[in-house]
Structure formats: C-alpha cells, structure tokens
Subunit: 358 residues, 2 copies
C-alpha cells in the first residue's frame, strides 16, 4: 500500500538554534521563576554576608557586572567581580570569612571556576553555584546550588542562559533584601514584555543588518546595570559576526577611545532612563560629533538625538531589570548581521559550548 | 654691531612630548621613591582596613587593575575596582566602614572621582588621593594625599603618570605589609632596568611599526598583574593610533573572542614568568592556530612559540613589578605606529589632558 514518504532531512538553517533560543527567553525566565523557593532558601543561608564575590568567564562574567548593581541596589551589599587568577594561579591568601561567593557557569564545568570555588569554600566563604546543569561538578563543589532552569542551550553563543543568569542574580539579591515577591512579580512582567517585543525586534534588525555586514569594528557603550548589556552585545558581535566590538562605559569613551572614532567605526549606545542617562546621552553626542554612525537601543533609545538607527525596547517595571530587555536587541542584531555575512551563530569558528581551556 | 640671529622656532615634532615622557620614566620613578616617607605615614593611618576600593578612569583604571594584585599579594587584602556609578549616579547606600578608598586621578580634577571620594568619606571610608597635582581638588577632598611626583605630563596620552601610579600602588601596598624597604629597593632596580631597556626598545619598535600602520583592530592579552599592561597598551593603541584594540585576559579569549581572529587581526601577548604563564602560552598558541599575527612582549616573551615579533623586557626583581617594564614596549610601539600613520600622540583627536566630561 502507499505510505507517506519519509520527511526529508534538511540541514538546519545557520543560526536556527541561536534564534530559537532567543525566542525562548520568556519561557526560560518563567521556568526560573518557578524555582523561586530555592532562591529564598539559599538566601536565608547566606544572611549575614558582608561581601559578595561573583566569578565567571565570558557571558557569565558579563552577567556578574550586572550582579554588582543588583546586590548594591537591592540588599545594599558591596559586590565585586572577583579575580579567579589571584586565588587559583597566584595563591593569594585572602580572608574569605563573611564573603558569599557566587560562581556562574552555564556548563558547571569551567575548570578554574571550580578550583576557585573549592579554595574559597575551604577559606571560609559561603559558596553558591548558579548553573544550567544541576548534576555538574560545580553543583558538587559549592555549598549551595541555584538552578538556571533555562533548558538545554544548544547554540554555542549563549542567549537564554545569559538572560536567566541576570534574572537569577536579581532574584537572589531581592530575596536577600526581603523583596522577593516584588522582584519576582516584576520579572513576570518582563517575560510578557520580552514576548511582545521579540517579533518587533526581529523585523527591525532585519532591515538594518545588511549595512553592517562590512563593519570591522564597533564600540558598545552603556553605564550602570546596562554596562553588562554593552559587554554582552559586544561579545555576541565578536563571536557571531567577527566584529571587533569593545564594550566601554559612557565615561571610558571620553578617556581615550573617542580618539579612534571615524565614519567606519559605528557605536552602539544602550540608554535606560535611570541615574546614568545623562552621561550616556552626552557620550552619544560626542560620538556623533566624531562622525561615527550611532545605533541607539534600550528603553530610552529615543533620548539619543541624531541616532541613525534605533532599536528601542519597553520600559521595564524597575530600571534595574532593563538589561533583560535591552540585550535582546543586541542578540537579534548580531544574529542578523551574522546571517548577512554568511556566518553561523550556532557554531562560531574556534569555539565549543563547554570551554575547558584554562 | 653684529648680533647672533634669534634661534629659529621650529614647530615641535609630532609625538616629541610623548616620547620624552616615556624616556623620563626612570627619573619619574626615582622622584616617587624619594617621597617614600609619605607612603609609610599614610599606610600607618590606613592600618586595620579590610577592603581596598580603587577608583579612576582610563589609564588610572588600568592601574587599578594592577592594584588589585598588589594589595592581595603584598598585605593579603581584598581589593576591588569599585563602581563610581553606583555611589555617584545610583545613590547606592553601601557600608564603607573599614574600607580604604584609593582615588587615582593624574589631574586630581576628574569630577565623578571627586564626588565618589566625598560620598565614600562621609560614609566612613578612609580616603586617599593619588595624584600628580598636589594642589588639586582631589587633594582637598580626601583624608590623605600621596604624590605621584611624575613631573608635569604634557602629552595627552599618559605614560609616566601611568607607570608612577603602578609604582605608587605597589609601594603603598608594600608599606601596609611592612615590606616597604624590600619593594622600594626592587623599584630602584626597575628604574635601572627601564633606563637600559628604553633605547633598545626604541630601536626594536622602529623596525616593526610600519607593517602595523594598516592594522585596524587588535587584541592585547595578559593575565594577572599584566592584565593591567594589556589594558594600558590597548588604550595607547586606541588613543594614539586609532586601532580598535581590545584588552582580554588570556582566558577571556577562549570564551568567545577567539572566533573573531583572522589574518587581519593581530594579537599582542604579554608574558611574564609567574603563575599565569602557562595560560598565556596556551592562549598564544590558539591565536597562532587561528592564523593571526602574534607579537610577544614582557619578560617571558621568549616562552611564546611562533610569535612573528618579539619585544622582550628584562626580568624584574619580583614578578609583581613586571608591568612597570612590560608597558614600556607598548608605549613605544604605539608611538612608532602613530608616527608611521602620521598621527600625533601628543594631541590625539578629540581628547584633552584633563577629562572634565561626565
């Protein structure tokens, strides 16, 4: 009898995984929020900490830059992106008593992060691993585990694990501040905002990606919590588009790098309506005065006069959470530029998903 | 009667000030060492600190990255590059009691650094200004002043104030550790090493600058104390040569940026014989495997196999002090490339010596 033909196995479209995982971010965020009781429990165990030390590489280190703001602005704690090298390679003998260590590793396998956690724990720190793999070595090395709950991430360039790391840091900081209900509810709203915004941003980036296919270098500027966004967008452009993109705070720009700008050196500015908006607006004006092409993004993209391109996102329920929305514009832009260049964001040259190199 | 003709006033050669100030670094370092009693006095006042918070922009922020190592490895204190934004723009209410703040500003006039110092001081920090201008606002805002004693710096691109900031941080950390004599003597040796090395490096960079005149982008990698060197060399290349140069730790490189490398994307590696040498050597091998041109510098430049160019410097009396020697190669290289491109390191486009912008 007749049978249906076997469905043809077509090779996956370049960047299909990357795009699917960007689109999945609202769902991933909701999966994280479903784990909230874990965050409350671990926050209880961390009470009394006087210094938060966050470590991680790549996108995790970018998320750590956000965490510094989350801990300062929610529970009022000093937080730092700690040096892994000092403890692991230089044998520094630091006083870890009273410190909470937060180790960020999507894979839970990053070797020097594991070694740092082991040493910090034996020197008196309370250590927490935040990872997407609950059965990983990091889960065994740390005192406590917080799940990213992003679901398997298959594209090499991280997207949903990055945004869930931001959310995990915000949620944990909120629990420490006794404001878990408030921030969890705000994160629910952010998931809805992402859901509505992603299709609009996909259309917007499609129309501007092609002119950027020939760009070799860019700056990405932001300040405050959005400096993490600037770092992460620059990393996406580097790894998926082979663009030499450097993240700078709006203030760094004035202290040297502005001298390098010209017509062939576009600048991406992330603008949010918070305490640093004036500084970012002023830096953007200097960029335009230097003749560089300007892309404005973020909830306050419209405040950047003279931008040739705009990728605005909604205003979040709290300014601290803007990076969860702002980064999506950069993720999608990088994906669109990569496609315009014939590159595959799912498998960037020379990278693997779990970085085991030192 | 006859009189001698007035001597002709020729316009200064582009980069003449920058080069003179690089050459002056050994003398500037000795002037700093002559101020040692001030460092001992202020260290006495800072005893009992449990957290060192270092702030500054541009080259000062690069020096702060070195300071994190100096305080951890000499007195065993946790030190961080603190966020100016959090305190100045976001109004975070952090606990500054027990903290020593070290504010780095060549001019002593950087507005948000001043504001940070004022707020940190009123919140309980012991505040120290390190500046080249003892009569500046920073000197008035802080509890204590440490002089850079570098002499007036006239080129816009900082050189001798950067290296003296490194030395000031090392000397202050040493005094806190009760090791002032030892480190002051090591710094004397470094001044002698710089003196012998500078003419050799000037010759070496002259022969390799021209091929780099057409380079648009570079990475500069280092780890540990030499990450500060990577940052500062990248900043010199940005501001004097208009090269998009991004500093990365040797480990950062593997977490994404390696994907951007190709034949048109040279990498500068700073190698020192300390706890991070293996990591830097491994990263350099990945750079070569990606087909990128490699420049090796630092005291362990010879450990980098396959480098097309080498700019070695002497081995310092202590590995921690290597950045004072390694940075000179980058300063001179940037000056030579700028000249090859017809640019003037004394007056980079769009910059002024005192950055008053936010």
């Amino acid at each position: 009898m007749s049978s249906l033909p076997a469905s043809p196995v077509s090779p996956p479209e370049p960047g299909a995984l990357y795009l699917a995982e960007i689109r999945e971010q609202p769902a991933a965020l909701r999966r994280l929020l479903a784990q909230r009781s874990e965050f409350a429990r671990v926050a209880e165990a961390a009470r009394g900490t006087n210094l938060v030390r966050i470590v991680g590489h790549g996108s995790s280190d970018n998320a750590a830059a956000f965490g510094v703001y989350g801990f300062a602005l929610l529970p009022g704690l000093t937080a730092m992106r700690d040096s892994i090298s000092l403890t692991v390679y230089y044998g520094a003998k630091l006083d870890f008593r009273g410190s909470t260590v937060i180790a960020l590793s999507q894979s839970g396998q990053t070797p020097d992060v594991l070694e740092y956690v082991t040493r910090a724990r034996s020197a008196g720190a309370f250590t927490i691993g935040i990872t997407n793999h609950e059965d990983s070595d990091l889960a065994r090395a740390a005192d406590a585990l917080l799940p990213l709950a992003a679901g398997d991430e298959l594209a090499v360039a991280a997207t949903k694990t990055y945004s869930n790391t931001l959310a995990a840091l915000a949620l944990f900081a909120a629990e420490l501040a006794g404001r878990g209900d408030e921030v969890a509810s705000q994160l629910e709203t952010v998931a809805e905002q992402q859901e509505r915004q992603i299709p609009l941003l996909e259309q917007a980036v499609a129309s501007i990606a092609v002119p950027f296919a020939s760009v070799g270098r860019m700056f990405v500027i932001g300040r405050g919590p959005e400096f993490a966004t600037a770092r992460e967008i620059a990393l996406k452009l580097l790894e998926t588009c082979q663009i030499a993109a450097e993240p700078l705070t709006a203030t760094d720009l004035a202290h040297g790098p502005i001298a390098a700008l010209d017509h062939f050196f576009p600048v991406w500015a992330v603008a949010t309506d918070d305490g640093s908006l004036d500084v970012v607006v002023e830096a953007a004006a200097r960029v335009r005065a230097a003749g560089a092409t300007l892309i404005a993004s973020g909830p306050a993209a419209d405040a950047i006069a003279d931008a040739q391109f705009r990728l605005p996102v909604p205003t979040p329920p709290a300014p601290l959470l803007a990076p969860l929305l702002s980064v999506v514009a950069g993720q999608l832009f990088a994906g669109a530029v990569a496609r315009a260049k014939g590159l595959d964001p799912d498998k960037p040259r020379g990278l693997s998903k779990v970085t085991l190199a030192l």
